[in-house]
Amino acid sequence: MALAQITDSGPIGAETTQRGGPLSRWASQHAATLILGVLLLLLPTVTGDFILVQVAGWAMILGIIALSLMFLAGYGGMVSLAQMTVAGVSGYMITVLGASSLPTISLFWPWWVAAPLAIVIAVAFGTLTGALSSRTEGIYTIMITLAIAAAFFYLTLQNWPIFNGFAGFTTIPAPVAFGINWKHPLPLYYLILFFAALSYVAVVYVSRAPFGLALQGVRDNPRRMEAIGYNVTAHRVAAYAFAALLAAVGGILMVWLNNQISPGSAGIEATIDLLVIAVVGGLGHPIGAFVGAIIYVILRTFALDALVAVGLDGRRFQTIIGLGFLVIVLFSPDGVIGLWRRWTARARSAQERNGP
């Protein structure tokens, strides 16, 4: 069982002989995605603000950041533990550049300056991370990125002039823009949904573009890629830059949703939880990031009650996460979507055997 299998979609440039225009063809191939999209659009009609924002919204944000990890690990073979850190850099930067509870540090620049600038800084940081990890053998990537993530955590913890130490910042509201107060649950939910959908579509599309295909080639056979003209290091670093863009967007949304940021937001526990999310969901397809995220958020929201109900200490959430992670890595390394694929394949072949 491979940890990261090739993603599916047909070969490049393949012709199909299906009837109907390109749009109807696409719709029938992606029926499940469309249905999911419609459900998400209509979610506010059936749930309250808490589920909407704290469960669905938070899951989608974690999904975006986990997607950046999946892009690097699944398509690039590079397991980067620095993606949560990139999101953290982005979150801290928009806090320092924009509005917060601390006028002594924050600059209170308008969102249309603070947000893009925060993203640029975070992407630069992510690219630097890539530059540092790309010239070494694959297994070192985990080490180097974890060291970078831990270093950032300790920096935010110890540094008061910029990061306000372990206290962090509060009151970091989403802005009022285009006549809408994006801080309110309903607009915030749709804002998050928009970016989640956009990142998902972007990653799926790019995976079959020359950029994505070259990255997968680099994953599978870097020596061969060099020998057919690709600058392998450049492709890896570019992948980190693209992934950093995703994580940076996630970081800003994270700060707007939580209305606060502190060292723990992008700390070591959060970093490792992100890897757990990506691996449990499955590194083989972009949807895995979101699958993992919703599982994690549901567990986190309801674990306390569930644990107490079976007589265990409600605070042992991390043990559950760790055990769940171990079960996946030991028995289904390609994650939940791997399980899903195998189950549907078996169901399909059983159906064919039983036959008409």
Binding site: L3, V79, L132, S133, R135, T136, G138, I139, Y140, I142, M143, I144, L146, A147, I148, A150, A151, Y154, L155, Q158, N159, W160, P161, I268, I272, L275, V276, V279, D313, R316, Q318, T319, I321, G322, L323, F325, L326, V329, L330, P333
Partner: protein
């Protein structure tokens, strides 16, 4: 060319020549290094003139930080050498290494409390961590031979579970392990700290226990080096680090070797836990701290290299302590910068092999 775990016998004989040749090829670098070494020696050995102290602060502060850094380096070496051995031979990035450190510290503390002996704690720490290490390698990793990434993820999962379970048992309070009476107190050293106005020179007094532990770390390091270079098992380990495929020729003994190395590395980490508990304290979060330290040490010093772990440990230890004293808000940045510079110039680490 450095081979695994340091130079091999062939290059020993020609070491004097090699140095002369290197100086010949890099005259400017050699001159710069010579100047730096001489300056460093003066900083340490000579009393600082008054004007110098006005700018850089008291020499006592510097010397204390420096020696703290070196002795901390001894502690980091104990943890990181196990980590680098496990990676070097089994290509497994043991992310549970910090948990082993913490577990050893707690077990050593409990053993010390129960028996009243600090040294007995070390035995218990080593044994209990070694057992955990044996279990990990024998029960889990043996079945994932060759899947480096998967093994690493398993260590991560284990570290999550271990960490939480240890919080459950020992809580979040910091535990300080008492220094035994026979090691308490300061020891005079020949290092000049200041010259009093009466003309009397003041020498540095430094805690005995830290010096003893540092000496022990050095002994253990030398012992490991000797074991790797003078025993048959050591030769097998070095061969395995150099070329893992070759190990398959050796047959079934390979798994035994892996178990031994994992157990030893884990045991070392556990003993380091007691050291850390004595130097500073142990508590939740220290596992991440020492895992990070191990990562930094091997990134800077070089993976799979015991001398590299020693060099990296001294560098990281000193940069941490000096950073705390002189750049309080940006101490981690200094260590991070060192890591970045090494990664940029020599990605495999200072003494690492490509």
């Amino acid at each position: 060319m450095t081979t695994a775990f340091g130079d091999d016998e062939r290059t020993h004989a020609g070491r004097g020549d090699a140095l002369a040749r290197w100086i010949g090829y890099h005259p400017v670098a050699a001159l710069i290094i010579a100047v730096v070494v001489i300056f460093a020696a003066w900083l340490v050995l000579a009393p600082w003139p008054a004007g110098f102290e006005d700018v850089f602060g008291k020499k006592r502060l510097f010397i204390n930080a420096l020696i703290n850094g070196i002795t901390l380096g001894g502690l980091y070496f104990l943890v990181a050498s196990g980590f680098t051995l496990i990676f070097g031979l089994m290509r497994n990035v043991n992310l549970a290494h910090g948990s082993l450190y913490l577990f050893g510290g707690y077990m050593g503390y409990e053993a010390g409390q129960w028996s009243g002996s600090w040294l007995f704690g070390y035995v218990i720490a080593f044994v209990s961590c070694a057992i955990v290490g044996i279990a990990m390698q024998f029960l889990i990793f043996r079945r994932m031979e060759g899947q480096d990434l998967r093994q690493t993820l398993v260590t991560l999962g284990l570290s999550i579970v271990f960490s939480d379970l240890m919080v459950w048992v020992w809580g979040g309070n910091a535990i300080q392990i008492d220094t035994p009476d026979y090691l308490m107190g300061p020891v005079p050293t020949p290092i000049v700290v200041a010259v009093k106005s009466s003309g009397e020179t003041v020498f540095l007094q430094y805690p005995r226990v830290r010096l003893v532990i540092f000496a022990a770390a050095v002994l253990i390091g030398v012992g490991m080096w000797l074991a790797l270079h003078r025993t048959r098992i050591g030769v097998m380990i070095r061969a395995g680090v150099d070329d893992r495929d070759m190990l398959s020729v050796l047959g079934y003994r390979v798994q035994l070797l892996f178990v031994l190395v994992f157990a030893f590395g884990a045991g070392l980490a556990g003993m380091a836990g007691i050291v850390g508990g004595t130097f500073q304290s142990i508590s939740l979060g220290e596992d991440s701290h020492f895992l990070l330290a191990s990562l930094q040490v091997v990134i800077v010093g070089g993976m799979g290299s015991i001398p590299g772990a020693a060099l990296g440990a001294i560098i990281i230890g000193c940069s941490e302590q000096l950073g705390l004293v002189y750049f309080q808000n940006y101490a981690t940045m200094l260590t991070f910068l060192i890591m970045v510079v090494v990664l940029a110039i020599r990605p495999q680490g200072l003494l690492g092999r490509r």
